[in-house]
């Protein structure tokens, strides 16, 4: 079973330290949620795990399948089984959803077998159709330019469509709930739930508890000022919803004082 192990991760961006020692382990089959106020480093963690060049790791390691993935390029991390659903998916004008996804699937297949000739078109069409149905997406979606002119809900559904097609072992959902109305949130969450199982580990990054009503986490963590300061079960999320973050902050301050 694969696990993603984050140890003592320190990250800075433009000389400002954002992550100040993050430790977290996510195993296949588990759903973790990281919650916390804005600006505490949640998205930095997501981008760093995927290898965005703007984020500089100054200390720590991230191990996945026996490798320190911090030494790998983003595409190599992805082919190893890591996935990031973006908070703000990027539009690629002129590239259709189908063309893009077929290129990604073929890159994955080639990584396993350099001789691979690529997924046959009929097989790919069938796969894509099946996944679009899962997410209640119209079939014309496949022919649209990736994320171009997509509504907020369409963008997030497209992210989950990619996840469903690429079948990662560990998926990070970065504020997938932001900007979604309740219907869109339900569709996206149902999509994620349909993919849940012993082969998928999920890290849900969110500012709001709301999404956790739909995607039930096994573990909840609170991030503040670049560290995970509190961990618990699903009831921690409910507690935060009711009482806010102040009690956590006080607890840390008292902890530091004592």
């Amino acid at each position: 079973m694969s696990e993603l192990v984050i140890r003592g991760l320190h990250v800075k961006i433009e000389d400002k330290e954002i992550l100040k020692g993050v430790d977290l382990t996510i195993r296949q089959g588990e759903v973790h949620a990281i919650m916390g106020p804005n600006g505490t480093g949640k998205s930095t963690l997501a981008y760093t795990l995927m290898g965005h060049p703007a984020y500089e790791v100054t200390e720590g390691e991230v191990c996945f399948k026996g490798q320190n993935i911090l030494e790998l390029e983003p595409d190599e991390r992805a082919r190893l089984g890591l996935f990031l659903a973006f908070q703000y998916p990027v539009a690629i004008p002129g590239v259709t959803v189908a063309n893009f996804l077929r290129t990604a699937v073929n890159a994955q297949r080639r990584a396993l077998n350099p001789e691979d000739k690529g997924i046959p078109i009929p097989e790919f069409r069938k796969l894509l159709k099946e996944k679009m149905e899962l997410l209640k997406m119209d079939h014309t979606f496949a022919g649209r330019y990736l994320n171009e002119g997509f509504s907020g809900g369409e963008k997030k559904r497209a992210e989950i469509l990619q996840m469903a097609t690429l079948k990662p072992e560990i998926a990070i959902l970065d504020e997938t709930d932001s900007g979604l109305d309740i219907d869109a949130l339900r569709i996206v969450s149902e999509g994620v739930n349909a993919l849940r199982g012993p082969d998928l580990g999920v890290l849900v990054i969110t500012h709001y508890q709301r999404i956790l009503n739909y995607i039930k986490p096994d573990f909840v963590h609170v991030m503040m000022d670049g560290r995970i300061v509190e961990s618990g079960g699903p009831d921690l999320a409910l507690h935060l919803e009711e009482h806010g973050y102040d009690w956590v902050r006080e607890k840390i301050e008292n902890g530091v004082a004592s």
Binding site: E73, D75, R77, A78, I92, V95, A107
Partner: protein, 451 residues
């Protein structure tokens, strides 16, 4: 007393212009029985002799420098010399517009081959090479030769007008609609040769055709070859022409063309340009909307690498009311290459209710490549709608990261972005064959970019 050595702080700019002289002579002007054609050639020769080789002092040539052109090195192709030169690759002769073509003209140095569906010939369609047209249909040729592009418009137009050995004449009689596309290939191999061409297309009222013309050659490691060409097009009232022009000249070829299409009342021209070859290109293309309600669309793509320099000078003339034009040129650049696009929309007095659009978009893929984009409007009528846009940008690194995050390797990610950038132009090309050819060129150029 010791002599003080001269200090040289600056090398003199090469003043090759003075020594630059073509080796052509008046004896090379081909004899012909028809007096109109003879006069045309003689006038063109005189214009060629009178005009200097353009210098960057001329506005149209400000960004395209000809000082390195070895003018004196070019000779005309001798009869049947093609037999000693490389032959065109099979894929250039394949129909790109479907399974078959209605006709094909192959222009070789010192030779030619012409084929036309006998059914089309029986309808009065002419699709043949220039010399045959001159001998067999001089009076039809008179209707267009020199009427749309005047030889005095430039040194290279004059040269092609006077000495063109190769050429195509396409004539479509009134109300004849041709389903199968026609195709011609100008094959210009060799070094030290001047390939001079003249393409003439005449569509009578209500005629309709798709015509694909390609100019091509292999790349030679040293030396230069030149192409100078004229393209004259007339689209008659309510006629409909789709014209696809591709150039994949070798990277030792200096390529100059003067092209103009005149569109009459309610006529329609869909004009597509694709450029991936040549060392240097200066192309003047002009859309002349002379009839009310005429419409023209110009779509161009170019992809340059190494030391290539491509200069496209376009003009959309609205000379009548209710005319519409739509231009989109997109280019990507690698290596030390450079592109220039200079566009102008001109609206004549009284040409009201016209709608003109022009846009040029460039993707600069290498730090040493450069794209110049210069749109222009000159509007002398009151009730018009004219818009333009020009951009020069780089590959967006956020887009690259997004594709990488899906496991797509960097080179493939960048290629996907470049292909997507060209997609709006590809959408305008209804031929799978042409799209595939260009896609292949993108693959090849991007592959050399990574290594």
């Amino acid at each position: 007393m010791t002599e003080i050595p001269q200090i040289i702080t600056r090398k003199a700019r090469p003043s090759a212009v003075a020594s630059q002289k073509f080796a052509f002579t008046v004896e090379m002007v081909r004899a012909t029985k028809n007096t109109y054609i003879r006069d045309y050639r003689n006038n063109a020769w005189q214009a060629f002799e009178a005009l200097p080789i353009p210098t960057p002092q001329e506005e149209a040539w400000r960004r395209t420098d000809l000082r390195a052109l070895q003018a004196g090195s070019f000779k005309l192709a001798e009869t049947e010399i093609y037999q000693k030169l490389p032959t065109p690759p099979e894929d250039l002769l394949q129909p790109m517009t479907g399974d078959t073509h209605g006709g094909q003209v192959l222009l070789l140095p010192g030779g030619k081959q012409c084929k036309l569906d006998p059914e089309l010939a029986s309808l009065g369609v002419i699709f043949t090479d220039l010399q045959t047209a001159e001998n067999e249909y001089p009076h039809l040729l008179e209707k267009i030769l020199g009427k749309i592009v005047r030889p005095g418009e430039g040194k290279f137009a004059a040269l092609a007008g006077a000495l063109a050995q190769s050429g195509v004449f396409l004539y479509v009689p009134p109300n004849v609609q041709i389903d199968q596309p026609l195709q011609s290939l100008l094959w210009g191999p060799g070094v030290g040769l001047a390939h001079l061409s003249h393409i003439l297309v005449y569509l009578e009222e209500g005629a309709e055709v798709t015509y694909v013309h390609e100019s091509s050659s292999p790349t030679e490691p040293s030396g230069q070859t030149m192409h100078a060409g004229i393209v004259e097009i007339y689209v008659g009232p309510a006629a409909n022409l789709r014209f696809v022009e591709l150039q994949s000249w070798g990277e030792h070829v200096w390529n100059f063309t003067h092209e103009r299409a005149r569109v009459d009342r309610d006529g329609n021209l869909d004009w597509i340009f694709g450029a991936i070859g040549s060392r240097l290109t200066k192309n003047f293309s002009e859309l002349d909307l002379v009839g009310q309600g005429s419409h023209g669309r110009m779509s161009g793509f170019y992809f340059t690498d190494h030391d290539q320099h491509l200069d496209h000078d376009t003009q959309q003339n609205h000379r009548a009311a209710h005319t519409t034009s739509d231009l989109l040129f997109k280019g990507a650049l690698l290596g030390n290459s450079r592109s220039v696009w200079q566009g102008m929309i001109y609206v004549a007095p009284g040409a009201d209710k016209t709608d003109g659009y022009q846009a040029n978009r460039n993707l600069v893929l290498s730090p040493n490549a450069r794209a110049d984009s210069i749109p222009g409007l000159e509007i002398l009528a009151d009730d018009v709608r004219c818009t333009h846009g020009a951009t020069v940008g780089k590959i967006d690194q956020d887009q690259v990261f997004y594709l990488l995050s899906r496991g797509i390797p960097r080179l493939e990610a960048e290629r996907l972005i470049v292909e997507g950038f060209f997609d709006p132009i590809m959408q305008r090309i209804p031929f799978e064959g042409v799209r595939q050819r260009f896609q292949r060129a993108i693959h090849e150029k991007m592959a050399s970019y990574s290594s």
